[in-house]
């Protein structure tokens, strides 16, 4: 395999492994599915274009997050009129915290997978509609035969149930805050 091919293969592997983390990182800064997805794609392109600048042996995830943060800033400055976003200082604040406690946040996601499985059926169905299928709350409310307000409340309860379950799980495993 030529050097160029080896480099490409290595890049693809690093990029593939970091996609989920990158999406979560971007989503914490601009929590909207389509926006986060768009920025992720732009980030991937920049990472590929600038890969020659990456110092091998250093932390690819950290480098990728830095690139992603710049892409988020570019995105929010373009789109500010369309949807309200955090200002740059707050983006930096969140970003630094994400980086600083990355291992802890990562461990929460492992626990989350187990907690989702414990959700009652009705809530699992709600989560499926909201997150996987991407229904709006209005559509879900219509499906459930409830009000939009009630659907929002249910979404909040589900978030809290999951969050509490993850706290409890980590605490039992000695990995809590």
């Amino acid at each position: 395999m030529s050097d160029s091919n080896e480099e490409t293969a290595e890049f693809i592997q690093l990029l593939t492994e970091s996609q989920r983390t990158l999406f979560q990182y971007i989503h914490s800064l601009i929590p909207h599915r389509n926006d986060a997805d768009e920025v992720l794609q732009e980030t991937n392109l920049v990472l590929w274009r600038e890969y020659h600048q990456f110092q091998h042996g250093t932390n690819f995830r950290a480098w990728a997050c830095t690139v992603a943060l710049n892409q988020v800033r570019a995105f929010t400055s373009k789109r500010r009129a369309k949807r309200p976003f955090f200002d740059t200082d707050t983006l930096m604040l969140i970003s630094e915290r994400q980086q600083k406690k990355s291992a802890y946040f990562e461990s929460r996601l492992d626990a989350l997978e187990r907690c989702v499985k414990k959700l009652p059926q009705r809530k699992r169905m709600f989560v499926d509609k909201r997150y996987r299928i991407g229904f709006t709350i209005e559509t879900i409310a219509k499906d459930m035969g409830s009000t939009v307000d009630a659907a929002y409340k249910m979404l909040r309860r589900i978030r809290e149930d999951l969050h509490t379950c993850v706290d409890r799980t980590l605490s039992q495993e000695g990995l809590g805050k």
Binding site: Q24, F85, I94, G134, Y152, K177
Partner: protein, 472 residues
């Protein structure tokens, strides 16, 4: 409302995309004021992102409320696929169905230990069924027609034609007619059994040999131009030509093709799914990448996608075996596909989508197999590409799947489809399904249609409506 509650409300509004600029500014102040709240915000944002990215691990569509009694759990799991079928079928009532307004002909009254095969109808208890085909591999099920109950003992292959008529392809059934239900017809190869208000059993083996067991009453036999007709009566009075044997045996009519044709004409509708005969189906991805651990693909699905990036274009191929129906004059042909969730990509990333159905011209309809189908050997391939060669196919129709409803029944009715199928009677035909509409953004949704192995949804099916012959 205290500070914590106020913060949580702002946090959720931001995550839900409903926050105003003022809300965002307030939330920012909370995050700057406390690491605890900052962590809480990140934890919730990450949680939402994980659910968006991963979906639900091992998620199955919910089926029903289970009983608190533990011994009900076995029943629950046994019937879970049936109840799931109800949900899927309910979801499948798309506008096309409403427009065509098919009438129910029977209801599944009960099922015990049932294992259903690949028919063209849902199999949940209580489900109203339109005309179509049911295959019961094992177990016992009861169908309620308007005034007739039919018990099926698996394995059974039965076609529901109307509220007054069914066709037994193979297997055992017992028919019981209530008052007012006289005249119900069970077709078998070579004979029709007309129930005059009593109870009888019919068995048809795999090669069409049949046996009638009269459980109550007597049989009246008549020879018709299209075979023989047996009437099971409660009448005690003998009539000319009456056959009083409690059991009768017969073989398929020698003029089976013609007979099939005329019987088909009589019932007006025949269903042929990709599960029938030498039918087959499969899909092709045009890029070099294949699904693996990183990109698992859903089971029992035919995947279709059009992507500006050529790598992930997908198209489906379906073969229908029409060799057993050769001399019909068709008045209408529908292709029915059932959309099922694939979990691949985001629905929001693809707009309302137009799909095209092509027929592979007979001279290019190679003998393909789903076991070996790939991007290099699919029928009507344009040389050295992974596209269809438009000179080797005929456009037979289009249909649209709304962004908001990728699941459900989709029906293609088009004179071009009708002519293609009419010309293909007596042989096998291959159809290709492609999506014309490209993605609106990255990671766009991959549409899926149930294949013949799907446990609950209907397989690709041709519904052939037959013109009655002149004079009938």
């Amino acid at each position: 409302m205290n500070h914590r509650e106020s913060y949580e409300q702002l946090r959720d509004a931001y995550l839900d995309g409903t926050a105003s600029q003022s809300d965002v500014d307030d939330l920012r102040q909370y995050l700057e004021s406390s690491n605890e709240l900052l962590d809480d915000y990140i934890e919730h944002a990450n949680q939402d992102a994980a659910l968006l990215w991963d979906g639900l691990p091992d998620y199955e569509p919910p089926v029903t409320q289970s009983s608190s009694a533990s011994n009900r759990m076995n029943l629950f799991w046994r019937y879970a696929p049936l109840v799931a079928a109800t949900l899927l079928f309910t979801a499948s009532i798309s506008w096309e169905w409403i427009r065509s307004n098919p009438k129910p002909v029977a209801t599944i009254l009960s099922s015990t230990n049932c294992h259903w095969g690949t028919g063209t109808l849902p199999t949940s208890v209580g489900q109203e069924l339109q005309s179509g085909r049911l295959r019961l591999i094992s177990g016992i099920a009861e169908l309620q027609f308007s005034k007739v109950t039919v018990s099926m003992e698996g394995p059974v292959d039965i076609e529901l034609i109307s509220a007054e008529r069914c066709r037994l392809h193979s297997g055992s059934i017992v028919g019981s007619v209530s008052k007012g239900g006289e005249g119900f017809v069970v077709e078998t190869p070579g004979a029709e059994i007309v129930d005059g208000g009593t109870k009888f059993g019919v068995f048809v083996d795999k090669v069409g040999h049949a046996r009638l067991d009269v459980l109550e009453g007597k049989v009246d036999e008549r020879r018709l131009g299209r075979g023989r007709q047996l009437t099971v009566n409660t009448s005690k009075q003998a009539s000319p030509g009456e056959n009083v044997n409690p059991e009768m045996f017969w073989e398929p009519d020698e003029r089976s093709l013609e007979n099939e044709s005329i019987r088909g004409a009589h019932d007006k509708v025949i269903h042929v799914s990709s599960a029938y005969g030498t039918g087959d189906e499969g899909d092709v991805t045009t890029g070099p990448d294949q699904e693996g651990v990183e990109f698992p693909r859903p089971e029992h699905a035919l995947l279709v996608k059009h992507s500006r990036c050529q790598e992930w274009n997908r198209k489906a191929f379906i073969r229908f075996d029409l060799t057993s129906v050769s001399t019909l004059d068709l008045s209408q042909v529908d292709l029915r596909l059932e959309g099922i969730p694939t979990g691949m990509g985001y629905i929001s990333q693809v707009p309302d989508s137009t799909f095209r159905v092509y027929g592979i011209k007979p001279e290019f309809n190679i003998d393909w197999s789903s076991q070996t189908l790939n991007r290099f050997n699919f029928p009507a391939r344009l040389h050295k590409t992974h596209d269809l060669d438009l000179d080797k196919v005929q456009l037979l129709g289009e249909f649209v799947i709304a962004q908001s409803k990728p699941q459900g029944q989709f029906i293609v009715t088009d004179p071009r489809l009708q002519k293609f199928i009419q010309d293909g009677l007596g042989s096998t035909v291959t159809l290709a399904v492609t999506r014309v509409t490209p993605e609106a953004g990255s990671k766009s949704y991959v549409h899926g249609f149930a294949d013949r192995t799907h446990p609950t949804a209907s397989p690709p099916t041709l519904r052939l409506q037959v013109k009655p012959p002149a004079g009938e």
